[in-house]
Structure formats: C-alpha cells, structure tokens
Symmetry: C2
Subunit: 413 residues, 2 copies
Amino acid sequence: MTTIQTVQAAKNAARSCALLSENTRRGILLAMADALLENTENILSANALDMARAKEAGRNSQFLDRLMLSEDRIRSMAQGVRDVANLPDPLCGMRDVVTRPNGLTIAKKPVPLGVVAIIYEARPNVTADSIALCVMSANAVVLRGGSEAIDSNRAIAGVMIEAANASDMPEGAIALIEDTSRESAQQLMHMNGLVDVLIPRGGKGLIDSVVREATVPVIQTGAGVCHVYVDATADVQMATNIIVNAKCSRPSVCNAAETLLVHRAIARFFLPDCLMRLAEAGVELRGCEKTRMIIPELAQATDEDWETEYGQLILSVKIVDSLQEAVEHITRYGTGHSETIVTQDIAKAQEFTNMVDAAAVYVNASTRFTDGFEFGFGAEIGISTQKLHARGPMGLSALTSYKYIVLGSGQVR
Amino acid sequence: MTTIQTVQAAKNAARSCALLSENTRRGILLAMADALLENTENILSANALDMARAKEAGRNSQFLDRLMLSEDRIRSMAQGVRDVANLPDPLCGMRDVVTRPNGLTIAKKPVPLGVVAIIYEARPNVTADSIALCVMSANAVVLRGGSEAIDSNRAIAGVMIEAANASDMPEGAIALIEDTSRESAQQLMHMNGLVDVLIPRGGKGLIDSVVREATVPVIQTGAGVCHVYVDATADVQMATNIIVNAKCSRPSVCNAAETLLVHRAIARFFLPDCLMRLAEAGVELRGCEKTRMIIPELAQATDEDWETEYGQLILSVKIVDSLQEAVEHITRYGTGHSETIVTQDIAKAQEFTNMVDAAAVYVNASTRFTDGFEFGFGAEIGISTQKLHARGPMGLSALTSYKYIVLGSGQVR
C-alpha cells in the first residue's frame, strides 16, 4: 500500500475504533502484550539486522543503546503495554453537564482524536508504546519510524497488529509505514483531513522540521533547555542537591537542566562548593564572566552555550543581578519546558511562577519530575512544549477530544 | 511597521499582558466600550468610505449588509465589549491540584495562549469582538482583516487601542495589520514561534486556504454542512418544526441545516406536509430519486448538492433505508459541525450520538443551538470543527492554555 492508502485505511478504521468498548480495548492490549513475549525470538532476530547495519554504519554507542533490544527490554515493553491496559479509561463518562433554561441538556463526551500519526527515530520501544496508548484511547495510529530501526519496527508492529486484529481491532487501524524515505514523512505532514494529529518524537532536528513544515495539526514535543535559578535566599544544601540531580541523574533527557542561574548575593557563598560537587560528578562547567571572577579556572560560556540543549554532562553557569534578570534569561533562551527556582522567600517563588512561561514551573524541586509517570498520569505520549491542546506531560487524555451531546424535546431557536 | 515587526511587538507585549490583573482587564474593556460610543461619528465616517468603495465595486446586498455600520450597530458593538467585561475570569483559580506521594504538589494554572492572530473578511464587528475576547483572556491579538473593511477596522481598532493603552494595556499588545495584501496573510501563517494560534474567521475559501497553508497552530472554524435526520419513529410535528427552524431561522450561518435525511418507513407520511411547510417558507427543495417518487415536481439533487453549504434558502432531501445509511451519508458529506436526529426511540438516539462524529450531536432539537451564547459561555470566538484543543463553540477558555505549577521542599529524583 502507498502511504496515502495506508492513512486512508486508518481513517476509515478510526470510526470503528471509536466504538470499541473499554473491555475490548483492554483485551486487545493484553493480547498484544502476550504476543510480544511469545515472539521475543523473532523480534530479537529482526533487531539483530538493524544492529548489524548500525554498527557497519559506525553509529555511536548512545545510538546503538537506543536501538538495541534484549529479552529484558522486550519483557518491559510487554509490561508497558499491560500497564496501559490497567489505566482508567480516558473515554469514560461525561463532563460539564448542564441543563439550559430552555430545557436542553448539554454534555461533553470524551472521544478519540481519530488518526494519530507519529514520526520518530531509531527507538523501537516507541513503536510498542505508541500503539498501546492509541489503542487504549480508541484512536487509529499510523507510525512512521526511522529507517535504522525498520526491521525491529516491522517485527514489533507485525506481532501487535496480528494480535490486535485477532481481538476485534478493526483492520487497518494500526499501521506502520514501511517507506522510510523523506517523502513519506513529508506526505504525512500534509494529509489535512486524514491525519487528526501528528506527533514528532525524537531529536530537535526532527521536531523542528515537522513544526516548520506540517500543515496538519501538530503537537510539538521535547526540546528542553531547562534552568535552575538559585535565588538570594536559597537553602544552599537544597540548591546543590537540586542542580546536581537536575543535571546528572539522566543528562540525555529533555527535563535535565542545562544552565544554572545564581543570584549574585549568594554566588560567592554558594558556587564554590556546588561547582565542586558537580565537577566531582563528572560535569564539565562553563561560566559567565562573573562566575569566572569567583572560579577563574572555569571555561568561558558563550552565547551558544545559553541556547544549547547539551544532553550530556555539561552545564553553563551564570550569575544574575536579580530574579528579574533570571526570568529574562529564561524567556530568551528557555524552550518553555521546565524551570525551577530555589528560594526560601515565598514572594520570590510567586513572582517566578507568575513570570516564567513554561510547561512546568517548579519551586524547590528538580526539573527532572516533568514526566507523565511522575505527575501521576501512568503513561506518557510525550511532553508538549506548545500551548495549544496539551502542555507538559501528555497522558492518555491528551489523545482525546470531545463532542457535545445535546438532548432536547423538540427545542427550536 | 512591517507585519513581522508588528507581530514581534505583540509577542513582547504578550508577557506583560499575561500579568494583567482581572480588575485591570475589566477596566480596559469598559474604557474601550466607552471609547467606541464616544467615537461613533468617526467610525461611521470611516465606514462610509468602505461602503462607497464596496458599492462602486458592485458588491451584493449581503456583503454590504455585513460591512455596514450604524449608530445602533456601534452601540451593540460597545455592549458586546461590556458583556465580555462581565464574564467570569478564564484565568482564575487552579485546576487538578494533587499532592504526590513524594510530597510534590502539582496544579494546573490557566494562562493565556500568548499571541492570537485572526484573519477575517469584511466584517468590522469581528474587530471589536476579537479585541474584547483577547483582552479578557490576557492575550495579545494581531488582526488581519479584509481590504474591503480597512477604513472601518482602522477606526475601530484605533479607538480601542487608544483607550486600552490609556488603561494600562501594554503597548503593541493589540495590533491591526494595515497591509491587507495576500502576502501579509501568508506571513502570519508561517510565523512559527511568534503566533501561538491563528484563527481564520470567514467563508470556506478563507478557512480552507489557512488550514492548507499555515504552519503555525490553527483552529479551524466554521464550515457547516449540517443534517437533520428524521428517524422512523419521529414525532412528525416535532420533526417539521425542527427542520423548518434549522433551515429557515437564519440560513446564512454555519449551524443552519443543508440536508434533510428521512427514514423510508416514515417518508410518505412525513414528507408531503413537511416539504409544503418548507416551500411556504420560501425554501427551494431538491430531492433524491426516492423523494421525487413521492413528490415528482421536486428538482433532482446531485452529488454536488450533498456537499454544498448553501447558506441560503435551499434544502436537499434524501430518503434513507436505515439509520446506518443516514450516518454514512453524514460521515461522507458532513463537516463535523452539528447533526441532529429526531426520534422517539431511545436506542436509535443513542446509536446516532455514538456513531456520528461531529462537534455537536443533537437529539430532538434544532442544529441552530450550536453557539457560544446558546451553550451558556456568554461569548464566542468561533465554532471549531477540528478536534485538537477546542471543539464546537469556543468561549473565553478556548483562548487559554495552562502551566503546571509544582511546589516542592527540595525533592530530587
């Protein structure tokens, strides 16, 4: 099938998907989880083909690690699918029920979005994950993964589709686009009327190109240049713990911190010990002029540093004259993801949470908590950095819309 | 200023807008309403220039009626602004407050979207309306109206901006783009990172071109090919009232009905009287083959009829064999706006509301109720026919997003 035929088939199937009962959807998920486990050998053989090609192409160890599957990883993939089957049904119930003076009863009923398309890179786990979330939210899903993982994706999607179709999932409602050319991605970005939402999952380059080019509705995810601002009144021990955690606990993810901002009134007292702890944890530090006046051996941070999502153990450090200057720096260089203030002054905390425009604004906690699981949603389809539809960690409900049901007894206007 | 400078200035002003207190915003609205009344003469003179040009260009009476202002219309424009000032603050309060097991308290705080851009046609009332809704929701707003109304728009926006700036509205937060060329609209559609949402308001041509071309987030509004389906068990008196109301009460608007679907079991009993009442009301009728077997003098409806939003007193009529066939017709030709079933059978009502995918699905009521005021929102920025962000009538809250505020006491992950 061509890409357009695949998406057209998904669109047709989406209508039947929307009518699947909660129990049917849960049953499909459990069948898919079982099928993943039963087909571990096949999936691993397919993955071995991808791994061999990636090694031959000289991919780095980070890339290989994301691509590689193992028995353990397939087991946790299956468990992830099972976990989604146990989440509350996002389509359950009615909201905002009102009866109007004319007797009309109006209610919002949650409904699936329709066709969810996902463009992603060489992470086979996104395949299982996205299928599970879309099935639970009764959406049709069209996956367009990277060429580097095509054998793994084909195996995983194949197993899940077979199990789903055997359990009443409408034919065509789950589809993997096997054409991994740039053209197939371009086509998806312009299928207005067929694709109800397109979610890019991957690096900045992928996301930027989708946001810049797509004419279908997009949810922008990911890019995180996150800041920790240590205010004049911060508890220095707490501040040190928070920045060490925000930078070091998992530097490759989008909610890791990239820049430490420090109020000048506390800088001399706070920075030497804090930066030593960061250096001991293996962090490469780059400081502004004022920071280098306190710790001269630091490398100089440039404008490029302020706007870079390092994704590794590098941290830029800047001393600011005021909370206002910290907010201005964040406004200029932040990506609207996660920002935190460490302070003991409640007025400053309030000023910071009011002024900073980001998906998640923290007081006295690590930026690393911006995550669907940590927020208690039980699953995550991504972290939105846009303001339309969904912002911040997106759980199952971000994959739903609603329709108004209006019950009358002959009312006319 | 160039278009890009105007939007850049609005983006900068949006930060300060977001911090305006509820009282300040209400004060700005009341000042703007007063200013509209005080400047009635100026606005009418400006409108006279637009009207003269439109007459010279040979515009039809519908066009002239939409363009024309009068003392009465300016008074009701000012009252509309005043009404928005009296709505509940959409930025008030926190939602979904939870405390997680680790002690983090997480809440969603409503925030404005940022920069709302509106592209519209020759309706000067959209200018006042959009400014009022954006001010109340603390957004910056960039208006790009049609060339035919430029003098009226310049006068209305000028008066409102002057009054707003005198009442603490940040400079540049309300802007009218005076360049009404195709290029200025095109630029707006591609200002990713500056325009947070673009809402086209106007005819199908305008909306389609924005949806097809824009890469900034768009909310699709408007187009309505709405159906009334009369089921086998309908109360024929109620059904007649509903279709007459849905077609005739205001045929030019998007929630008016365009097609009547009738179950064959009731057709012979229902159609003759119903169609006579419609004909008496001045409706031109076009029927399918089966309808013409009952009433041979009807004109033949073509495929084009089923997909046309007439916007005038024309109605197409089709006899269907089943509810299923009615739903299929609606799925194929409907625009996802408003659909109604007339029935006394609760199971059929439920089947219809489950199967039909539209912003508003009615049982035993006219489609004409799909409207922000009728739904009790007190205002309306448009009727969304997409599923992302907002669906159906959009009140003030559709112009908001949220941010997560996370309060901790030193939590790390």
